[in-house]
Symmetry: C2
Subunit: 197 residues, 2 copies
């Protein structure tokens, strides 16, 4: 009986904590990304596009982000207005539309990446290497269960393969990306940004 | 060198996973709460009010929710418009304003609670009792670090004491609450809701 009540207490705590931690992360990250003229959400879209190649269909973007295609489509609309991405039709099959990042979007992403990495490294610094691995595993279990809840017949393996976090060479590609040529600063920008990384 | 690269990979994964899991939870929870005429965010506010007493100042609500007072104030504005809460001045000190839930807000919260609990219980069901405890501890470390990041001089202990999740009798109070008199259904609602729990 005591274990049951304690177990229920832990479930309640987790239900609240999983939301709170993300709220707090967003409160920290929003000002970091806004320095580069993008939102935390737009940074996630640009990152997904980066890892999947420069042109991507909304449905694949939604798979990579684990969002619904409708909500991704609305985010893309706002990004088109902000000049961060454009929509382009496939030359072979005109029904297929790709989302392509602009140089403005590329620049913002590349400049924001070292700041974003520095932040998440600092936030996770109190956790040991083993603790971080445990947290990844536990969160993956919760993620897979929510994916199953949203779509009982969903192919979890396919989603895992498409997910940014399961690219085996994630860190290597990130390093190459950060070490490659410094992006040009925007012409309309007054101060020249210092190259980072 | 390998450990460094693996460690960096884990940091990247966590930076993404902490966001993704919450996005997915919201995708699941939004339709659950919308059945009761509230958003996931409004449910969190009503829950915090419930555990802290029926009248609460915005600053205490912000402490309990670990949000900024400004963002909580905007959420409260929308809830006042939706008829879920009202603002009331303190009789003794007219400068102090309390947020008080309406019967509409109370009803919505009470009817939504069993559904919300059932959902989070199901989502966490693949984790053992020990795993759930580990996840709580790890997320608490991340939460405390973000709180420190946002406000380097912040009193973490005070926030912990005020936080809903650290109320020692959380489950007991929740059970009493769910077993107490069934809330009245809204008059304008056509179908009578079945009492749950």
């Amino acid at each position: 009986m005591k274990v049951n009540s304690e177990s229920e207490n832990t479930v309640l705590k987790l239900g609240i904590l999983l939301h709170r931690v993300r709220d707090l992360l967003m409160m920290c990250e929003d000002p970091i990304f806004s320095k580069y003229g993008i939102t935390t959400e737009q940074y996630a879209v640009l990152s997904t596009m980066k890892y999947h190649g420069s042109a991507i269909r909304v449905t694949d973007l939604a798979l990579g982000l684990e969002h619904s295609p409708n909500s991704v489509s609305m985010i893309v609309d706002r990004m088109v207005k902000a000049g961060l991405v454009t929509r382009k039709r496939d030359r072979g099959d005109r029904r297929v539309v790709y989302v392509v990042s602009t140089s403005k979007g590329e620049n913002a992403h590349k400049l924001a990446t070292p700041a974003a990495l520095g932040f998440i490294r600092e936030i996770l610094s109190p956790l040991s290497y083993e603790d971080k691995g445990t947290l990844v595993s536990l969160l993956e279990v919760v993620r897979d269960k929510t994916l199953n809840y949203l779509n009982p017949g969903v192919d979890i393996e396919k989603i895992r393969r498409n997910s940014v976090i399961n690219q085996p060479d994630l860190t290597k590609r990130l390093k190459q990306y950060l070490l490659s040529s410094t992006p040009q600063t925007k012409r309309q920008g007054g101060k020249k940004e210092k190259p980072i990384g």
